[in-house]
């Protein structure tokens, strides 16, 4: 009987670790080795399986630091199957959904509201949660303009009443004669008057600019004060193509992985020219990330994969490479001693591209030679020169050369392998954890001990419960301080706005 219980516990633990790991990395998008369809089927299966078997833990995964795509999926699935929630879990589940939804970047949250309608999820709890979310938004009229179709979908689907002129605005639009809310009035005017569009958020103004046939360079120059940080970063390339347009931005304030993606998108000669600036920005971004969640590390070696497969896919262009580059800066900032070992050696990490075969064994051996406390491997887990060599190295190293675990090895994998329902590993003796942004590395490294299989289920449950408490407390605090901001500050610097891939 005991053996059966223990086995059940082991199965539960493995299922959960697999799920959380998948939720760290998978976004249902195309990867280098898998297509989008396979990824979506794979992750949907995992969601359905965990939801059906471990509902409470499924809800708590929301707090585990997983990526936004999976948070939205979990919220949707929980709302769709509210009837199956046990009475004692109801309150916690509701609070978790509300807190997670509030913490999502707005474009993802609003997209989720739209999917509620697509999937025909409509029940009392869902409506209440949507209503509460919309009431908690700092500036409803800004949302009404920027996410107009999505907000309208949510309002008509849930028969919600919004305050002020918003219901009128959503369903009559600019045909109404005049609005008293300034931003809504600007939006109406912008359909007739060129100068009014420069008061609107960029994404909305862009479409209206095309209607008024405003030249791209003039438009970019005049809309500049309205750009959010993410938009500024995204439009650097577009601005460079237009003569005389420069979008000034402080690169160091951009999120670390986003910045790495931007750096890697530049041509090699541009990177060479701007090396000092880019290097400083990466260091600054890494330092800022560490201020939020610091993990002091000792002697750390990083084995980083810059083989051709790190170029990602059309949907996730160069993401594995960007995660490796960002991890390089993050680890070098947090470790006392640090050395990087690339699969194809590079003179300067900032100049590299994804090229060549994957030989993980050689850099891993080089790293182990250096005798670090911790080796972090950032790779998609496919090694082909020779195949499976890295698994053999880790096996022999763990079982024969270092059974006392003086050196610990952790594998962080930015790529979800749909056929395995998990990120591909580098041998059974090394824990593999999924990662989407390098900023999550501290969280993910904390989770690695569960991936290794040594920690019991109860510990994993405690870990999740602690993270739930943290999320709920943080949610309450931010809810208490949320104040409606005026439109201009919101438009120029939406702090959490993170653009989709």
């Amino acid at each position: 009987m005991d053996a059966a219980l223990a086995r059940a516990e082991q199965v539960a633990r493995e299922d959960l670790v697999m799920f959380v790991n998948a939720c760290f990395s998978c976004t249902g998008q195309r990867e280098f080795y898998n297509d989008a369809r396979g990824q979506a089927v794979s992750i949907e299966f995992l969601h359905a399986y965990i939801l059906g078997n471990y509902r409470r833990l499924y809800a708590r995964t929301l707090a585990a630091g997983i990526n936004h795509f999976n948070q939205a999926q979990i919220i949707l699935n929980l709302l769709a199957t509210g009837k199956e929630t046990r009475a004692e879990d109801k309150q916690e589940e509701g609070a978790l959904i509300a807190a997670a939804l509030r913490a999502l970047p707005p474009q993802r949250a609003f997209r989720m509201l739209e999917v509620l309608r697509e999937r025909r999820i409509n029940n009392r709890r869902a409506r209440a949660i949507v209503q509460e979310y919309l009431e908690g938004r700092p500036d409803p009229s800004f949302d009404a303009i920027k996410y107009r179709s999505k907000l309208r979908a949510a309002v008509s689907h849930g028969h919600l009443k919004l305050g002020g002129e918003l219901n009128l605005f959503l369903f009559h639009g600019w045909r109404k004669r005049v609005y008293t809310t300034p931003l809504l009035e600007k939006f109406r005017q912008a359909h007739y008057d060129e100068s009014a569009i420069f008061e609107l958020p960029f994404t909305v103004a862009e479409g209206l600019a095309a209607k008024h046939r405003i030249p791209r360079d003039v438009f970019l120059k005049r809309i500049e004060p309205r750009l959010t940080a993410a938009e500024r970063l995204r439009l650097q390339g577009a601005a460079a193509r237009e003569d005389g347009v420069t979008l000034t931005m402080d690169l160091g304030r951009a999120p670390l992985t986003k910045l790495a993606l931007y750096v890697l998108s530049l041509k090699p000669e541009v990177r060479r020219e701007r090396r000092a600036e880019l290097h400083a920005a990466m260091e600054q971004a890494a330092a800022r990330t560490l201020r939020r969640a610091s993990v002091p590390l000792g002697r750390v070696a990083a084995v980083l994969d810059n083989s051709y497969s790190a170029s990602g896919s059309t949907e996730k262009r160069r993401r594995p490479l960007a995660v490796a580059l960002a991890a390089h800066y993050l680890l070098s900032a947090s470790a006392r001693e640090y050395r990087a070992f690339w699969t194809n050696p590079v003179e300067e990490p900032l100049f590299m591209g994804a090229r060549g075969q994957t030989d993980l064994a050689t850099p891993l051996l080089d790293a182990l030679d250096w005798m670090p406390h911790l080796v972090v491997v950032v790779s998609d887990g496919y090694d082909n020169d020779p195949p499976n060599a890295v698994a053999e190295v880790t096996r022999v190293f763990r079982t024969k050369l270092d059974p006392a675990r003086r050196t610990s090895i952790v594998h962080a994998n930015p790529v979800f392998a749909s056929e395995l329902y998990a990120p591909r590993g580098i041998g059974f003796h090394v824990p593999t954890v999924g990662v989407r942004d390098a900023e999550d590395l501290p969280t993910v490294l904390g989770f690695a001990r569960f991936a290794e299989g040594a920690a019991p289920l109860s510990e994993l449950e405690d870990y999740l419960a602690a993270r739930v408490r943290m999320l709920l407390e943080r949610g309450q605090r931010s809810q208490g301080t949320a104040k409606p901001l005026d439109a201009t500050t919101e438009a120029s610097g939406e702090p959490t706005a993170e653009e989709e891939e």
Binding site: F32, S307, Y308, S309, P386, P387, E392, V396
Partner: protein, 392 residues
Amino acid sequence: MARTEMKHILPTGLRLAPSQVWGSIRLVPVLRDEVRGDLRFARRTYNDDLTIVSLKGGLMEPGLKYISYVPHGLVMGWDDKSRSAGAVFGTQLHQPEGKALKVGPFTVRVLHRMAHREDKNRLRLLPLHLAMEGFLALHFGGPEVAWTEYSQEALSRGLDPRSEWSVPGWSSTAFDEALRIFEIHEQQVGVLIFHADLLLSAFIVSHPEDYRALHRALLEDFYGDLLLQYGFLGDVPPLSLSIDDRRVSSLGDLRAAITRMREDWGVFQGFMAGGVFGVEVSASTVYEAGPFHLQRFVTSLSPSEENHVGEVIMRGDGTLEYLKTYRLSAAQTRRAYLLKQLSQADWNLERAAVNLKTTRNELMLRLSNAGFGYLLKESVLQAALRQHQGRR
């Protein structure tokens, strides 16, 4: 007819790296450590539905023609004393080649020869078509002695028209995907393509940059039936070797074990490619381009072995500079084998049948089944058929 010589194709100057597998396709990178850079290849694409290559006679004159779909050709540049292939490589202006014709909605291009010299040190060749033409032309003259069984047509025109069919690379989605995800090594100059772990084709050039540019073009080349034949066989195993941990006591040992593993891979894959490397082939020179002799070759054509045709360039010291092969299907081998047997018996059916340990009637049936019925007189063939059926 060019002189034929027997020789062995050996991967001299080359090294095999561990394979990369996708589905049933295994691609083995071929690396070159010492790149001399005096022989370069570039791709020239033709956007025509059909290409006619005039083998004998002028461009638009009647004569022997080779007709096929040719998506691209290779332009080969080599060093002579005065200029270097590397320096001028890819800088020439490209003028339309041959003659383009419009036939209804289709376009047809007429080209000069399989290998056509364009400049002092530049040659345009149609890869694989060159070898295939050589294969089609085997015993093309037909019966040399006018034995009574042969039809009038066979005696006057030989095997003309002779045709074979093959499979374009893009007909296999697995092959497309395997090429897409393949990670090209820095010193890689070629690839061995295995399907269901049988050697399908080998492609080797002289310079790594050329290979990188030509890698995706492999999809447009043609391959043997084998590309489709085992299409549903499922995945080939990635073949992982393991390390004996009893023999490892330090990191240095571990490193040595990995090095050994890599060498084992090279040796094993060389063994897997034994159908081309090391076997005796009969080669004939097609073109002498400075120090480089472009040759086409065909293996033994014995039906019990795998058979390849291809073209090859070897340096004086035996270094393999260019190789492209095509694996013949079993039926293609059989056809070539029958022709070879007939030719060895001076086209005497009786004698050939004795050599093949069969009867004259059986041999005629085999010829007819192989698609060579048109060589024999209709009445003779029918008589053989009747006798065969009567006996059954």
